[in-house]
Structure formats: C-alpha cells, structure tokens
Symmetry: C2
C-alpha cells in the first residue's frame, strides 16, 4: 500500500525519476529519469519488444521523427479534433480542463462532453473558480498539440507529434514494399509524444512529454482471424470491466469465447489475451490488479471503433488507472492520409487490393513504470521494492564484508566477472546492513557478500531480497547461479 | 567507394532510412528509420553504452526531457549565443547560412565569422543569391533553437533542447547525491536534440532532429589524471589533424605522450585513446578512415576550452566529416546554472569543495550510422554491405532450399530455435541466389540453408557473407556455431 508521496519520495531519493528542470522551477508534466529509472524503463521496454515482436515474424521495429508537418496532422484529424475543453476564470485567469472541473464536483469521470454541455453543467452545478472563487468564462476547444515553425522564417508549420502512431502510418507503404509484402504486418515503435495538457496533475500520470510503446498491426479484416486463431483450450479468462462499470473497482473474469459472443472480433480478443499475458506472466502484475476497461462511443477517440483501456490498480493513484489501450482504428488513418496526400495507400495482398485496417496496441511507458513501482513498493519493518527480478535496475550487488585483509580485492575480482553478464553494483561503504537496505530500496534481487571464508576457497554468500535468505555458492559458480536465480529456474528459498 | 546516392538508395530500398513525411513533401533535415535502420542504430548504441559506461563503475545512464524552460537555456548561453549567421536574398527571399555562401565560393571551411565579417566577405567575393542571382541582404544572427509555449496561454516559454547535455547538467547534483558522492562521475544519455538549421544539406549529415549519444564526465581538475592514468606502454599512436590542416585529407600518427607534450592534459589524451579504440577495435573502422581534427579558438563553441572533432572519411560525403567530438567544457555550464538558478552547484569531494569541471564525449548517432553504412558499402559483381557482424541488423538468415518435401518444416524449426538467441530472418521466396543477395544487401553475416541432406541428419550449411564460403554444421550445434562466428572466435574461412 503506497501513497503517491511514498512512491515519489523513493523515486527521487534512489535515482528513479523526479520533476524536470527543478533548478528553474520547471513546468508541470515534465519528468527526468535518473540512473535507476532509465534501467528499469529499459528492462520494461526490452520485455515489451520481446513479447510483442514475438507475436509474428512479420512484425518489425520502426522509428520516426517527433516533428510532423501540419498537413499530416490535418489529414489525421488532429489539427481539428485533438482538443480538450478549456475553461478560464474571468477573475484570476487560471485555466482548467472542463471535465476536471466537473469531476471535482461530481466525483465521476466525465468524458466526451462538448463546450456547450460543459457550460450547462457548470451552471447547473454552480461551479466557480477553484483558485479564487471567481466566475468561470465560457468553455472552448483547446488544441493540445505543440505548434512549431520550421526554417529561418518559421513559415513551414509543424507540430510535435501527439502520438507515435502517425509517423508509422506515413511509412506504412514504404515498409510494406521494403519487407515481405504480406499482411498482417506489424510495426513497433518506442518513442516520445507530446501533449500540451491544460493542467497536468497526479505527477507522472498526465505528462506533457512522455514515452509511448506502440505496435501498429496492419491487416486485411477478411482474413486477419485466420492468422491469429483464438485458442480457447486453456480456458483462459479475461478480466474486463464493461463501460457502465468503469468507475467501479471491479472486473469480470470472462472466458475468451464469451467475449467473442458479445460481438467482439476473435482477432481482437486474441490480442486482449496477449496483452493480459504480458502483464500477468511477463510483468508479474497480480491478477486482481489488472483489468481491461471498455470505452463507450462517447469516450472513445474519434478514430477508434473498438477501444478497451488497459488498467492497473495503483494505490498511489487512487485505484484502477489507464496504462495503455487496445484500439481498433479501422482504415481511418491510412484513408485519411490517402485523401490528405493524394497518394494511394492500397496494397495488393493475395487476391485483394485494399487499404489495410489497423489494430493498435498502445502503452504509456512512464505510466507502466509508475505502476510497476507502485505495486513493488512494500513497507513493513524495512522498505523493499519487490520488483520482478528481470525488471530490477541492478541484478546483482557485490559487497566486501570488511575493507581489509584482501577481502576488497577478492570482491572486486568477483564484481568484475559478474559485471560481464549482469548489471552489477559494487558497494563498500557503510555497514553490511545499510548496504543490503540500499539494494532492497532499488529492488536488487541478489546481493553477493565476500567474507573471510571466501579467501579460504569457501565461495561467497548470495542473499535474496524478499526472503532475506542466504546461500553459499562456490566462486566459480556464482555467475551461473545468479543466471538460474534470475530465470526462476532455481531459488534461494528451498 | 560509395556515392551519396548509392548509400541513400540502398537505405531506402532495404529499410534503413529515408526522408520523413515524404507523403506530404516533408521538410529538409528530417529522416525516419525503417526496421533495418532501427536495428543497426540500436546495435551501435549498445556498443557505445557498453564501451563508455565500461570506462568506470561510477558512470551511469540518465534520460531527461527534450523540452527545457527558457531560463535554463538563457543560463547556458544558448538563448544569446546558439546562433548561425543568416543571409536572405532581397529579391527571392531565399535564406542561406552565411558561412555556406562563402564556402561555396572559396571551397574552404569558414567558421566563426561575425555578421559584419560575412557581409564584408560577400562584398569582396561579389557573391549573389545562388537561387535568383539577386542581391543578398545584410547578414544577421539567427537562433537555431525551436521555441515553444507551454500551457493553455503559451505564456511559459521553452525550447526543444539543442543538445542533450543541458538536461544532464541540471540533474548533476541530484544524481551526485543519489549515487556514491564521488568524482569523477559520468552520466550518459542517448536522446534527441533539435536545431532549426537554416539550410539542411547533405541528407542525414545536417539534420534538424537528430539523435545524440553523450557521456558527461564530472571531475575535479586537480585529481582527474590520477583516476585515468595514461598507459603508454603499448605505444598506441593517435591519429590527429591539427587545426591548420583541417581541410586536408591527412592525419599524423602521434604517440600519446607526444600529444601530452604539446600541452594537452593527460586525462584528455586518455579519452582520445578511448574514443579511438572504440572506432578502430569495436566498430572496426579502417585506421586510415579515422582521425581527430583539432579546432582552433575561433571554431570552437563558446563553452569549449579544448575541442577535437572525431572524423570519419566517407566517400559519400566527400571526405573526412565530423561524427562526434571530445569537448573540455570546464565549469562553464554548472557555473552558468549556478548563477542562473541561484542554486549552489558545488559538491564536497575529498578535502575540497568545488563546482566540477566537465569533459563531454559527444557522438551524433545518425552521423555514425551513416558513416558505418558508407564504409560498409561494397559494390563489385554483387552489392554487399560489409558491416561488422555485431552491427548487422539481422545476424542470421534461415532458408529452406526448396519449398517441399518437409524442408520448410525443418527450416522453420531451426529458425524458431535460432530466433531465441539471435535476430533471425526467415525467407522462402525466390531463388536461393536472390535470397543470399537480399541478405548481402542488408549486411547479414550468416545464412543457414536447409536442404535434403538436412532431413537425413546431415545438418545445414552456414554461408559467410563476405567470402561466400560455406560450412556444414550439425543441426544441434548451429546456435553455438553462429555465436562463435559472431564473436570472431571461429571463422567460416579456414
């Protein structure tokens, strides 16, 4: 059970993340990652890439610019529709998101309302400025993209991309032609996106600069299901909260075939299962802390036909919060670019020529990192970050028990050899208890201590973080022992 | 010997990189990376990280926002001094970099001139607009950063960072305190930077959005040399072109101690050697294609006291071109932020309390990727990308010789097993010759072909890219054989 301050304070103190440009007061919605944060995030990204590129041998990596020309974002609909409703106080000038003003009054999520609807509700609920109690001005649409001018006269208009997806769509045909010319084809990207949020809040949850990991799957709707047959033999159940229940902390456990019977395409359900497996098996999120939340028509983005959020329950954020989504975007985007660029986007696949449809598996990397930190945070008589070993920034620490009698030299030699295979950390400062505690706080699963017995050929101790149990391992076998512990093949606890 | 068009055409066709947002005409200076480009770039980054974090166990990773508040870039000097000289045609309105106009006329690099000096030289050389022959207007300073407004009223001014370095400096103290509180401390970052170039040219060489890999080493100048003792026992020579020779295609081979005798600090020379080793040993750049180029006072950026460019000779770009630099930035940056933020940047280290000095090892990742492609490009009777095996996007390809008689099934099973350890690619389309050719063009070092003999327990053939020689390897030993070939431990050629 971690409060927001618990997680943030540990993050700052132990080099995971903190508000950016603090020296200059910074801005809301910007965070920097320290050494441990970069490593944790990278391990999450590696696991994500391995899992989702592993779904097919026709899935690949791509990387595109964060600056896009206005024409591209006009065609995608973002120039006209990527807006939030802005309400400004007529007295103090403070700006608010309309839906947040309503939510603060009603304690219920209020998504998808128009400026006129928000004005009406503000009148009904008699909401005044939270800052100065002044009268609120009329609500208006506010575009959340950051505009830029390119070149010396800044006459070429552009934007920082609001999602990684558009750059991928612009390159679909080039990649299709450079690759196997087969569908389904997947293009995965991990990169930054930018949104000029009106009022960033809850720290890292609503950021203005953030990292997305997205897999765009281009497919022929007539044949996609054949490529991803839904295997129900294991009886896997999917955890879902339906649209009407999204404000409740509940989830149903529904058999995959039952989800299909409700009208969702089997290829969509196949990918819900793949995403759920990623969270439960690879990231080891507790089952009851995971769910999909269905979005109804009003809540969905303008380009999505089917949309389930991926949610993780986080005490630090007050319950289930979105960390990603599974979006059936149809052929909306490629058709939009076809019209906007006057360039055909259809490709020939088998007997048909078509503009492919797109299924997007979208993940907010920062939100995922925060969720992992939240769930790992455990404070009892000691503070331990119970990260899954594969996600831990440091895999193995090496300590000399004392700094004399040849022990440091032996410890350094062990460190040098472990460092070749693992992210290792050498620490010789402070008592052994303090050194264990520092490693517990960054989630290091294994600590190797070199003592007098080590000099007599009796190996070193390996301590496991959660159980605090120790085993003695011969020096020559240390690296292999750590590898086996890391993979879960063996355990320190008998 | 590769022309620019040779390298770019291969890059586009084979999924390395191409101009961004082509569908919409794009802008100069923006490039997207396809599947093979992302993999090649990632391998370069991994090798870079392994090499430079490996220099010390007090060096770490960090990642910071690409958007920085104006106050931070005012303090760093970028708001006032990060400028190029802009010259605009009075008739057609086309804009030019002043130094480029001079260079086109004189064929000599012209760096560091003021607007008044450029005006005078334009008059002397009687230069007119290259586009319309009109008269050129007066030269003026042009700031190369992209400005942004944050928040709904855009009243908070910010910029896209022009270099990754500043975000690292802003976090120096936080990292120092979260870590060992020891100097030298290194912080490495791989991330994007942005420069609103007046006239991007030579494709990927001068980009407006680009990737930097930088290691910032914070140190006490009184003791740095003790931590990085210059070992001259191996008699390593450093390839250097002095400032006066920078337009010549030459380099001297100078003993490390002789470079120190010329007045460079031994810790600086230590890092020249480390960088040279990275290029010659890890990246396998031919020795005569590598050099450092000294910059004189006029050419150096305002924050650098000692500056050598890292240059690689690239036929596609017409000779030696900069791919990075080794910059002694003194305490300029931390002192600037101390003054700008009114926050002390001094730390206590041993007996002294000081604002650390900074040595920056800076690399343009895109420029490095291009240089690697240029040097690998080999066209004789076939087109081969002779990439060092560790950099190749695909490590091993798997082909069924024919698509019948159980051969594809066996090939797929081999592919599935190799894929667990290597980036592997399965290809069953076209003649075996065409499949080899496709892999040669993306630099795949090893291709495994499964044939009739494979079904009889006689293993598969492994073909090496450059020699085109083949060996037969038992199926169970394939993965280990590829691993040994990749590490250079064994070779296909006897």
């Amino acid at each position: 059970m971690a409060s927001y301050d618990d997680v943030m304070s540990l993050s700052v103190r132990r080099g995971f993340l903190w508000p950016a440009a603090e020296l200059y007061g910074g801005f809301g919605g910007f965070y920097d990652y320290g050494h441990n944060g970069v490593l944790l995030r990278r391990r999450w990204e590696d696991l994500w890439t391995e899992t989702f590129l592993g779904l097919s041998d026709n899935y690949y990596l791509i990387d595109t610019t964060t600056i896009l020309p206005e024409a591209a974002l006009k065609a995608s609909g973002h120039v006209d529709h990527f807006t939030d409703v802005l309400v400004t106080c007529t007295r103090c000038g403070e700006s608010y998101r309309g839906d947040h003003l309503l939510e603060a009054a009603t304690h219920v999520e209020e998504e998808g309302l128009t400026p006129a609807e928000i004005d009406a509700r503000i009148r009904d609920l008699k909401i005044r400025c939270p800052n100065c109690k002044g009268e609120l001005g009329p609500a208006r649409e506010f575009n959340m993209m950051f505009p830029l001018g390119i070149g010396p006269t800044a006459k070429d208009r552009a934007y920082l991309r609001p999602e990684t997806a558009q750059g991928v769509y612009l390159n679909f045909k080039r990649e299709f032609e450079a690759l196997r010319r087969k569908l389904p084809m997947g293009l995965a990207i991990v990169g930054r996106a930018y949104r000029n949020e009106i009022s960033p809040r809850q720290g890292t949850y609503r950021m203005r600069e953030f990292l997305q990991a997205e897999l765009q799957i281009f497919f022929d709707p007539a044949t996609f299901a054949d490529f991803v047959p839904l295997d129900t033999s294991a009886g896997e159940r999917i955890r879902i909260a339906w649209a009407a229940e999204k404000n409740e902390p509940t989830a149903h456990e529904i058999a995959a075939e039952a989800v299909v019977e409700r009208g969702l395409p089997s290829w969509y359900v196949y990918h819900l299962l793949a995403v759920q497996r990623f969270y439960l098996a690879a990231l080891r999120i507790p089952r009851d802390a995971f769910r999909f939340a269905e979005l109804d028509e009003k809540e969905r983005a303008f380009y999505n036909k089917i949309h389930f959020d991926i949610q993780i329950r986080q005490e630090s954020l007050g319950g289930f919060r979105e960390v990603g989504g599974v979006h059936y975007r149809t052929d909306h985007d490629l058709k939009g670019h076809e019209a906007g660029s006057h360039t055909k986007q259809a490709v020939t696949f088998g007997a048909s020529k078509l503009v492919p449809h797109v299924l997007e598996l979208s993940f907010g990397v920062d939100r995922n990192v925060w969720a992992v930190l939240d769930l790992a945070f455990a404070k009892g008589d000691r503070l331990v970050l119970r990260l899954p070993p594969r996600l831990a920034p440091v895999t193995v620490a090496v300590f000399p028990l004392v700094n004399k009698a040849g022990i440091p030299e032996r410890a350094e030699s062990i460190f040098a050899s472990l460092r070749k295979r693992f992210t290792a950390f050498y620490d010789d400062s402070g008592s052994i208890g303090r050194r264990y505690a520092r490693m517990d706080e960054i989630g290091t699963p294994f600590s190797v201590t070199v003592d007098h017995e080590s000099l007599e050929g009796n190996g070193a101790t390996v301590r496991e973080r959660d159980s605090q149990k120790q085993i003695r391992v011969p020096e020559a076998e240390l690296a292999d022992a750590i590898a086996k512990l890391l993979s879960g093949e063996t355990s320190v606890v008998p």
